[in-house]
Amino acid sequence: MSSSPKPSNDADAKVKAKEQASLRVTDDDLYRHSSQYRVWSFTPEQLTQKRAEINARATAKIEQGLRAFRETHPDLTSEELAAIDEKAVPVSTDEELLLVSYFARMILSFAGKMNLPTEVAATAVSFFRKFYLSNSVSEISPKEVFHTALFFSCKSENYFIGVESFAKKAKTNPNAVLKHEFKLLESLSFTLMNHHPYKALHGFFLDIQSVLAGKVDMNYMGQVYTDCKKIITDALLTDAVYFYSPPQITLAALLIADEALTMRYLQLKFMITEESPTENAQGEKQEPKEGTSIPVPGQKLLEVIKECKAIISNKVAPPKEEAVKVTAKIHYSQNPLTVLDRLKRQRESNSTATTPGQTPVPEENQAKRQKSDGTTD
C-alpha cells in the first residue's frame, strides 16, 4: 500500500491553488497543510462510506469462509445449519464501530493507570481509531492493536518507554506489542502528527480572560478549564475529530462546560448574537472586534460549533456486554466449528435456559478443541 497524501490529495491541490492566488499563508492555511486536515478530515458521508467499504470487504471474506465451511462439511444436520446461520454472522458496520469505541475507551483508562501524559493517551486513541478506518475489527482484533497503538503513541509523542518495560507494565509480551507496528504506521498513511484540542483550550482560557477582563472569576475559570479538558477527552472518542478543527471542537466543549460564559465570549469576540438567529444575514456583515481582523463569519461559526456540540454530547459509552457480544460474533463467524461445539455442549448440559450471547470460550481452549474435532471427523 502506498500513501502519497501530499501530491494526490484534492484538499491539498486546493491549498496549492489558494497559495498561488495569494502568497500569504495564514494560520488557517497552516492547518490546511497539516496531515490532520489533508488526510484525516472527512464529511460525514465520506466517513460512512469509508466504514461501509471496509465492512463490506471483511464481510465478503467471512462469507466466503462460511461457504467453504459448508462445502467441506456436507453432513451437517439442519439443526446445526440453523445454529450456524444464527450465530456465525459477520458483524455490521455499527457493531464494528461499537467495538472500536469500547476499546478506544479502554486505551484511555489504561493510559491513566500507566500514568501517561494526556497527549500520549489522546494520540493513542487517535491512532487506534484511525487504524480501523482502513482495517476491520474482524481482520485484526482490537485486542492486538490496542497495546501497539499506545506504545507507538509513546514513541511518537517523545515519551519513550522501552518495549520490554512497556510490555511488563501492560502485562503482555514485546512481540505482541510490536507485531502490528508497521501495519499501524501504514494504516495511518504515515502521518503521525495530531493537533489535539488541549492546547487550543489553553489558548481560549487565556483569550477569554483578556476579552472578558474583569467580568470573570479566576477560580471559576480554573474550574471551567478542568471540566472542559474532560469533555475534550470524551470528544476524542467521537467522529467530531474528523469533521471539525481543534478550535471548533474546543469551543463546542466550552459551550457544554458553560454555555453562558462561552456565548458571552463569542458575542464579544465575533459579534455573534444568539437571540436573533433570523438576523443571520445581517450578522455576517458586521465587522468583528479590533484585533480579530480576519473575519470569521460569526453566525456560521456558531452553527458549526453547535453541530459539533451535538455530536460530542451524543456520546454514550458502549456497555461491556455489547462489546462482548460483538467479540463473540466475530469469533463465531470466523470459526463456525465453535458454533457446533457450543451446540453440542448445550445439548449435553441439557439446559434449555442458557442465555444467548454467552462469553466465548478462551481462544486457547478453542484451538485445542478444534484439533480434536478434526480428528474425530
Partner: protein, 322 residues
Amino acid sequence: MIVDDDEKKDMCPICKTDRYLSPDMKFLVNPECYHKICESCVDRIFSLGPAQCPYEGCDKILRKNKFKTQVFDDVNVEKEVDIRKRVFNVFNKTLDDFEGDLKAFNKYLEEVEDIVYNLDNGIDVANTEEKLRTYEDLNKQLIMANMKRSRQDLDNFEQRQKFEKEMKLKKRQLERQIEEEELANREWARKEIVNQLSTADDAEDVIAHVKKTVKLKKSSARRKLEELNKVLKNNPYMTVSNGLMKKKESVPFTPFNGDRDLNKRYTLSESQYNDPFIKSLQTKKEYIASGFRADYVYDRMLTEAFMGLGCIIKEELQTSVK
C-alpha cells in the same frame, strides 16, 4: 630566515619530515610571519589554541585557523600577494567613482600603492594598518557596492562576449549561405535562359523574366541577415553605460515571503492572563536558566486556539471529492 637551500626546500624545518619520503605532506604558512610549517606540525602545535611560532627567534603568536596553503614558492611574493589582496579588497574604487577624473584616480592608486609598499616592507606598520581600518570603517557601504559591481562587471563582460561571439558566428553562417545561394541562382539563371531561349523568340523578355525570379528567390537569407544586423545594433549588452548594468526592476524585499500570519485573531496581552501554572514555571530556576519564555508559551497556545477556526471542513471538502 627560511633556508632556500634546495635540499631543505622540501623538508619541514620543525619535524624534519621530507617530502620525498612522505609525498602527501603539505606546507602551510601563517600570514603573521610566513614561516613554513608542515600540516601535521600545525595540527600538533596549534590544536590546543594559539601558540608561539616554533621558529627560533620568532615571537609571533599564531592561530591554527589562520594557516593557509602557500601558493607561491617565494614567501615574499606570497606575502605581497596577500597584502595586495587585503588592501585592494578595501580600496576597491574604480575610475567611475572619480567620474572619469583620471588624475584623481591615479592619485588614489598611488596612495594605495604606498600602503601596500609600507605593509610589505614593514614601514610604519601600525599607522598604515590604522589608515586601512579607518578607511574601511568609513567606506563600508561603498566597498561593498564596489565588490558587487566588480563581480557584476565581470559577469556582464563575459555575457556580452559570449553573445557577440554567437552573433558573429551566425552572421558568418548567413553570409556563407547567401554566397552559396547566389552561386546556385546564377547557375540556375544561366541554364534557364538557355532553356527558355530554345523555345521562345524574344531573348530580352526571357532574360528579364528569369532575373526577376532570381531576385525573388534569394531574399530569404538576406532578410535573415538584415534581421541579425538589427539585433546587433540594438544589442541589450551594448546599452550598458559606464560598464554598469542597469539595475533590474527591483522587487521589494519580503523577509517571510508570505509565510506569516499578519492578521492574528488575538492580541497577546500577557498582563491580563492569570495562568497559575505558567506563572509557577516562570519562578523556577531551571526554567529561567533554560531560556523559558512565558510569552512564547502564551503565543503558541493562542495560535493553536485559532489555527483552523475558519476551516469549515464540511464545506471545504464538498468542493473536492476525496
